[in-house]
């Protein structure tokens, strides 16, 4: 059919573009003044090894944050089979809580004096408020819609997202809020395995890895985790086996919320600026990561986040620049969305496979 032919054309076109871009990039690295570069991108300078590593590190650290948020999308989708569009707002609430607390800590001097304690406190507070937001959302907006058609909870979650965004705007005002500076001993540049890495980014990577490990332990090794997996597989049978389905769903939301809270703090510490809109784009990108990794699949969500983060940070320089597109850094978000379309065109079940109950796979 015409549509199929068109889709094939799109697939071929996109792949060709990517291949040509990469080849042009390689050629440009070898010889910056080659024929293709003179035609498309005469000012090409190419990337030095350090620049490339820098891009990779920033992609990885940003990607691990996407991964943390994506876990929430993936788990909720696995259990309830709908996209919790408002999950980005849970993340924003975490970042906002972190700002308010750290701002107060800085005002009374504790931030410089005892940074580690402050960090622990703000992480705990962010986890608390994010979890609280997620659980309230579930109770008020999603539970009554448990058995309605699939699009109804999605539309509801769009409304919830809008509401939370604007409630935060109303309460805390539209100004962009900046986190206090990190202490020098943490933020300074380090060199690990020839990678120059800022302390903040290193912290993000470490914290993300630790959270992921904790989550993995909870889901794979504890009774609660087993209940969650059972509910994701089949709610009715799980309840016949004596699992409290409602409570397990609340736990799922709570765990996802906690991860988003950690992600929010990391985001705030790294980019140091939070507004009420902070949750939107990372939210959509985190969903993209969840799809890339295969929705319902937790390891996949983390891997998807890291791949999306790296793609978003490297692809503009690697593919678009050699093709002669100016101002590539503006197209970062467009690249992320293109990745989503690409994955859904080529492998709708994600790179690592979906894990959904049979009724949701339709």
């Amino acid at each position: 059919m015409a549509v199929d032919r068109f889709l094939t054309f799109i697939r071929v076109f996109l792949v060709t573009m990517i291949v040509v871009g990469v080849l042009a990039f390689i050629w440009q690295q070898i010889d910056a003044d080659n024929v293709f570069a003179r035609w498309r991108n005469p000012n090409a300078r190419g990337l030095t090894g350090d620049q490339f590593k820098g891009l990779l590190i920033s992609g990885l650290s940003q990607g691990s944050m996407y991964g943390l948020i994506a876990l929430g999308y993936s788990m909720v989708y696995g259990v309830l089979g709908f996209i919790n569009f408002a999950h980005g707002e849970v993340f924003m609430v975490g970042a906002m809580t972190g700002f308010i607390a750290s701002d107060k800590f800085q005002a009374n001097g504790m931030w410089e004096e005892n940074f580690v304690l402050c960090l622990a406190l703000i992480v705990l507070m962010a986890i608390f408020f994010s979890t609280f937001t997620a659980v309230v959302m579930e109770r008020v907006a999603y539970r009554p819609l448990r058995n309605s058609p699939r699009l109804i909870p999605l539309i509801t979650s769009i409304g919830v997202s809008f509401f939370v965004q604007n409630l935060v705007l109303g309460l805390f005002g539209p100004s962009s809020k900046s986190y206090p500076r990190l202490p020098e001993w943490l933020a300074k540049q380090r060199s690990i395995l020839t990678f120059e890495i800022a302390g903040t980014r290193l912290m993000v990577l470490v914290v993300a890895a630790v959270s992921m490990a904790v989550l993995w332990y909870v889901v794979e090794r504890t009774k609660t985790g087993r209940a969650m997996r059972a509910v994701a597989e089949d709610k009715e049978i799980a309840s016949l086996m004596g699992i409290d389905v409602n409570r397990t769903i609340v736990t799922t939301f709570a765990v996802g919320g906690a991860m988003a809270g950690v992600g929010g703090i990391l985001w705030g510490l790294m980019f140091r600026s939070v507004t009420h809109m902070t949750g939107f784009l990372p939210g959509v990108k985190a969903f993209t990561s969840a799809v890339v990794g295969g929705i319902g699949n937790m390891g996949g969500a983390m891997a998807g986040g890291i791949s999306l983060g790296s793609a978003e940070s490297i692809a503009p320089m690697l593919i678009l620049e050699p093709l002669g597109v100016p101002g590539v850094s503006q197209l970062k978000d467009a690249v992320a969305f293109t990745v989503l379309v690409l994955v859904l065109l080529f492998k709708p079940s994600g790179l690592f496979g979906e894990r959904l109950s049979s009724e949701d796979r339709a």
Binding site: M1, V3, F6, L7, I10, F82, I83, I100, D103, K104, A141, P144, L145, N147, S148, P149, R150, L151, I152, P153, L154, I155, T156, I158, G159, V160, S161, F162, F163, V164, Q165, N166, L167, L169, G170, L171, F172, G173, F280, V284, F287, T288, V291, V325, P326, G327, Q330, L331, D333, A334, F337, T338, L340, V341, L344, L345, P348, A362
Partner: protein
């Protein structure tokens, strides 16, 4: 079937206290949230009834009434007869309201003792003065607890009033509120019809109804509601039951009346109201398009704004002399042909990859496309062609030979929008009952079954995308001609979501519903950038849109003016349950499961 009566409580204090406390907390939480979001202080400027009621106070006062009413509603289980409500429920409402008022009193104490202005921007002395009525804290605290309790009581008393009293009260209250909201329209109309005396009688100089006019108008509305009781319903019923030629005749008369009103009325209206109507029309056009995609075909398109942007940019590039790269300076009408072509292409290009996806993936991917298109228009890459962040300016108005439609003359814009809306309404109406429209509805209800019935789902879905895209691009074209410039910031995702709210609140899949939705929401609250009748809501409308969307999805997913078929789909389980409860009656009376689908209350 044996019918049991719900147990009557032994005394008025035999309340379900945990429930009362819960509702009290909800009431208090809502009140505090409203105060801290800054609604009361900011909306205190808008006066509804001179010296007695401002929109700010109304925004706080309606909460206890509403919560009191909800809290004292009886939950009647299926097969159990409701008990008679009385003093018992009044006590519930009273306590709930008092708890809410108590929270406000606590807020007042907190406002007085701490300064939390740093994170909470609305923690201000102004709020304190508002809450205390400038009469000191002791007075304020007692006053709020008492007011809360009384209002809760009023809310609860709605359950025990006789029907007539309830009806009259609701009519009077809502009538008065809508009249004072419509103040600027009435101002404008009375000027147009040389009825300044009416305006002077009704409204005070500084805005708001005067006390005398409130009483007089209230009385008039009350009497009218008594007189009209049941007649409106009877009239619509009669119209519905008309058959054949007679129905056709009545329909034609109705149509002519509406058309004449639409054409004549704007001549008597001033700039502000015409501008408002033009905005409503623009969004109505968008909403009608989205109604085809979401309401009829059931494809949740969150990137609908992309087509709006394509329409706007195509018109801008083709008609403006300032277009940065290619400026043929075509006439608007000629440009419109290209608008349709480009919208169709965009609809196909966006539609083709997404139509095979699951419904929820489709939503997110279209959202992505909406963002991609905006980012591309804004980027340096396409900047040389579309002006980047500076946009395209100096778009000429529409030269019709005898008149020019441009933004400075909102009346002409309204007529242009009216023309396009008429086309859109006609197209949607004809499509609904057509082969294609029925195919869309079948796909919405069950795609696999539709395919099995021989419907080509792929091309039907693509058609929905294309028709929606063309309607949205018309709206974009008119917007470009009206404003005279297009910028990427006019095409945020926000627009898509607001249109979605309009369609859902009005009633998915129903043309009349979509019209009601755009008039009520865009007209009163305003669009993403356009102010509505209540300009004071400017900072809060998105909050209200979000809340409305959640509320509608939870309580009435079929919308204010539902389409019968859609609401039957959404409440399928309840219908089945009802049918099951009716038991063997089902065989003799097969209407049970489908009758009055439209008016089903939850």
């Amino acid at each position: 079937m044996n019918v049991r009566v719900a147990p009557t409580p032994s005394s008025i204090l035999d309340q379900d206290w945990s429930k009362v406390l819960r509702w009290g907390l909800i009431c208090g939480g809502a009140l505090i949230a409203i105060c801290l979001v800054g609604m009361p202080v900011e909306m205190d400027r808008r006066i509804l009834i001179e010296r007695y009621l401002s929109l700010g106070y109304l925004s706080v006062l309606f909460i206890p009434v509403l919560v009191g009413w909800v809290a004292s509603t009886q939950v009647v289980l299926e097969g159990v007869e409701a008990r008679k409500q009385g003093l018992f429920d009044l006590v519930t409402g009273f306590v709930v309201g008092a708890i809410g008022g108590g929270f406000l009193a606590l807020l007042m104490v907190a406002l007085d003792s701490w300064n939390l202005r740093d994170p909470l921007v609305n923690w201000s002395p102004k709020l304190f003065r508002f809450l205390t009525y400038e009469n000191g804290m002791g007075f304020g605290a007692v006053a709020w607890i008492v007011t809360g309790a009384v209002l809760g009581l009023v809310g609860a008393s709605f359950h025990i009033m006789p029907r007539v009293v309830r009806r009259v009260t609701t009519f009077v209250v809502f009538g008065l509120i809508s009249l004072s909201i419509l103040e600027s329209v009435i101002d404008d109309l009375s000027e147009g019809f040389r009825l300044e005396w009416l305006d002077e009688f009704m409204f005070a100089k500084k805005g708001g109804l005067t006390l005398t006019s409130t009483i007089v108008i209230g009385a008039v509305i009350g009497v009218l509601s008594l007189v009209a009781d049941g007649r409106m319903k009877a009239a619509t019923e009669r119209y519905r039951n008309l058959e054949g030629v007679e129905r056709q005749k009545t329909s034609i008369v109705l149509f002519v009346v509406v058309a004449v009103l639409c054409i004549v009325l704007p001549m008597f209206l001033g700039k502000i109201v015409n501008e408002l109507l033009a905005n409503v029309g623009l969004f109505l056009l968008l909403a009608l398009g989205l109604n085809i995609v979401v309401g009829l075909a059931g494809l949740l398109d969150l990137g609908y704004v992309a087509f709006f942007a394509v329409g706007g940019y195509t018109t801008a590039v083709l008609t403006s002399p300032n277009s940065p790269w290619f400026a043929p300076e075509l006439h608007f009408g000629f440009a419109l042909i290209f608008v349709v072509i480009f919208a169709t292409i965009t609809g196909l290009v966006i539609g083709a990859p997404v139509i095979r996806m699951r419904g929820d993936y489709l939503a997110i991917v279209t959202l992505g496309f909406g963002e991609i298109i905006r980012l591309l228009f804004m980027s340096d890459w396409l900047g040389p062609y579309f002006g980047g962040a500076q946009g395209v300016t100096n778009i000429p108005g529409v030269d019709l030979g005898f008149a020019t439609v441009k933004g400075t003359d909102p009346r002409s814009v309204f007529y242009l929008v009216l023309f396009f809306c008429a086309i859109a309404i006609y197209v949607s109406w004809r499509l609904q009952a057509s082969r294609l429209g029925r195919a869309w509805m079948a796909i919405r209800e069950d795609e696999q079954v539709a395919e099995a019935m021989g419907i080509n789902t792929v091309s039907s879905k693509l058609m929905a995308f294309v028709v929606g895209a063309v309607l949205a691009s018309f709206s974009g074209a008119v917007l470009a001609a009206k404003v005279g410039s297009v910028f990427p910031t006019s095409f945020m995702i926000l627009v898509s979501i607001i249109i979605l709210v309009v369609v859902i609140v009005g009633g998915m899949g129903n043309i009349a519903g979509v019209m009601v939705g755009s008039f009520v929401l865009i007209g009163v609250l305003g669009g993403p950038k356009q102010p509505g009748l209540l300009q004071e809501f400017q900072n809060f409308k998105l909050l209200i849109y979000g809340l409305l969307l959640v509320f509608m999805m939870l309580k009435r997913p079929e919308g204010l003016v539902p389409s019968a078929r859609r609401s039957r789909e959404l409440h399928q389980e309840e219908f089945l349950q009802d049918a099951w409860l009716q038991g063997d009656k089902l065989d003799s009376d097969d209407e049970v499961s489908v009758s009055d689908g439209g008016g089903e209350e939850q």
